[in-house]
Amino acid sequence: MQRGKYPFIVGFLALPVLVYVVFMISPFVQTAHYSFTDWGARTTEFDYIGLENYLELAEDEVFRKAFGNSLFFFVSLPLITIALALFFAFMLNVGGRGNRAGVRGVFGSSIYQVIFFFPFILSIAIVAIVWGAIFRTDRHGLANAILMGVGLVDESRPLLFLSDPRAVKWILLGVAVWGFTGFFMVLFSAAMAAIPKDIFEAAVLDGAKRGQQFFRVTLPLLRDTISVAWVYLGILGLDMFALVYALSQGGPNFASEVMATRIYDTAFGGYRPGQFGLACAMGVTLALFTLVLAIIQLRVLRRDRIEY
């Protein structure tokens, strides 16, 4: 195997590494670099201004709001999605008729999985269009039409949904949960199916009820899977860009602004675009934040791996 090994290695790695470095690594490094400059749209030159961008961010009302909203999604999205996904996975796996202990799928388990999983592979753009049409603020939206149809909402005063500053975050959260739950249900379901039946049998022999089986046996054994899901959902919660951008554009009055949309608008859109240095500082803040949170999550969730 040694003959011509190094030319081969270099030949095979050169292109992938080149593309990766140019279009992925270098932009990330440059983000950090530019965050210390006053680079704007009108100038090709820029000066180094130290930490000034970061100080400006600390005092920026809108950025603080965006930061808070990102934190909201970072906490709530994993919590609700994982709870729902675990519940459905458990229902799928042990809700089956019959009296065997442990894993036994309900009838049609694979059909449920196919359906539940589907929203996850849809483009966020499509998800946003569907839910945008449902939550229209006038009586032509599906939600309002149905609520008016059953008389819960007055014809002349349709619910505002995405234009309601108090509701908008929760609707966005709901749509995200709607999209992600199926994926994690399939994930947990696969992990549950991998738990050996003897463990459940032993638990039943010891007199464990279904609820105890779930909390004392299934849950601890799924710990690794859940912690991976938690980190992954945390990252998704900090992102939320496409959903927010397409459904509420961060409005009304920044009520649903998140850090990702803030970065995008500061650089490319909104009023006063082109503050690239400042936008990069936001990116770095978010990156550091993500890193710290990911480390904390892994620390908290880490425990000895259980082999079976």
Partner: protein
């Protein structure tokens, strides 16, 4: 929540005529029939919740597809009605007037180029990293892995200027190369573990038979890695087909003379946001249906690989 409907322990006796206890997998502590009834209650309970969620998942999608067959007037008058006749003209209007056809073509070009290059470069890198020892191997591997954890938009602004530096804004090859770069971490990660599991003996045999490294890779190892390539390939097709942020930033017309090369996701969102002024709802729904169909076909055809590929990768 399930505790309330399980059988209380201590109810006596084994049902006659049945094999007692394990190894049938049945608990010895609880009598089979009672547990069977309890199981039935739990069964109804779980089906109720599962069906409810199933409806919640499918209803909005089915509803929007149905709307694509109605006229704007009908949709506005009664959002929850069903189509009175199949209005295919919505689809042709969406295809030509709302440019969905152009967006579709752009998406196909970018995804075809992007996925092909991703698979080629990704499998090459993964193979070398998985099966050859050399200085720097770990560093390169881990820098690919690091790319898995960071959200794209952190790199967005410099990326815009890198692409502009190559004069590649609003071009197919520019977007394709960026897609490749952002798809490589997962592809390398997935295929790396796949190439590791392939037996060494086959590659050695090929070397004995006089095949060079390159031939061994393309004619022996790649065919063996087919299942892995399929999983990650489907993953990349779905991921690149649905990508929104990158085209939104990099595929914008640079001037009035520049062709509109928007991809589907981008074009649809633009259409949805404009919809307030133009009010062609039925074309929007039709466009959405057109954009969903390929995804649905890929998903239903390769459903098992999609689920296995996506979930397996997360678990590793």
């Amino acid at each position: 929540m399930a505790t309330s409907i399980t059988t209380p322990p201590g109810i006596p006796a084994v049902e006659p005529g049945r094999r007692p206890g394990p190894p049938g997998g049945r608990g010895r502590g609880a009598p089979p029939r009672e547990r069977g009834l309890a199981g039935g209650a739990l069964n109804v309970f779980s089906h109720t919740f599962l069906i409810a969620w199933g409806v919640l998942v499918t209803f909005p999608l089915v509803w929007s597809v149905l709307q694509s067959f109605r006229t704007d007037g009908e949709i506005v008058a009664n959002p929850w009605g069903i189509p009175t006749s199949l209005r295919w003209e919505n689809f042709s209007r969406a295809w030509s007037v709302s440019n969905i056809g152009d967006y579709f073509l752009s998406t196909v070009i970018v995804v075809a180029g992007g996925v092909f290059l991703t698979m080629l470069l990704g499998s090459m890198a993964a193979y070398v990293l998985a099966r050859y020892d050399f200085w720097g191997n770990r560093v390169i591997y881990y820098s690919f892995i690091a790319g898995l954890t960071v959200p794209i938009f952190l790199a967005l602004i410099p990326l815009f200027f890198v692409v502009r530096g190559f004069n590649a804004l609003n071009t197919y090859h520019g977007l394709i190369l960026v897609y490749v770069a952002f798809s490589l971490p997962f592809t390398v990660f997935f295929l790396h573990s796949f190439f590791r599991t392939l037996p060494t003996s086959v590659a050695e045999q090929a070397a004995v038979d006089g095949a060079g490294h390159v031939r061994t890779f393309f004619q022996v190892m790649l065919p063996m890695a087919k299942p892995g390539l399929l999983s990650v390939g489907i993953f990349n097709i779905l991921g690149q087909w649905n990508q929104f942020l990158l085209p939104q930033t990099l595929m914008r017309q640079q001037s009035g003379f520049d062709a509109d090369r928007s991809v589907l996701a981008q074009g649809l969102v633009a259409l949805a946001i404009q919809q307030g002024y133009r009010n062609d709802l039925s074309a929007l729904f039709a466009g959405m249906t057109i954009a969903t169909l390929p995804i649905l076909v890929v998903y239903l055809t390769f459903q098992r690989q999609v689920q296995a590929g996506l979930t397996g990768a997360t678990l590793k």
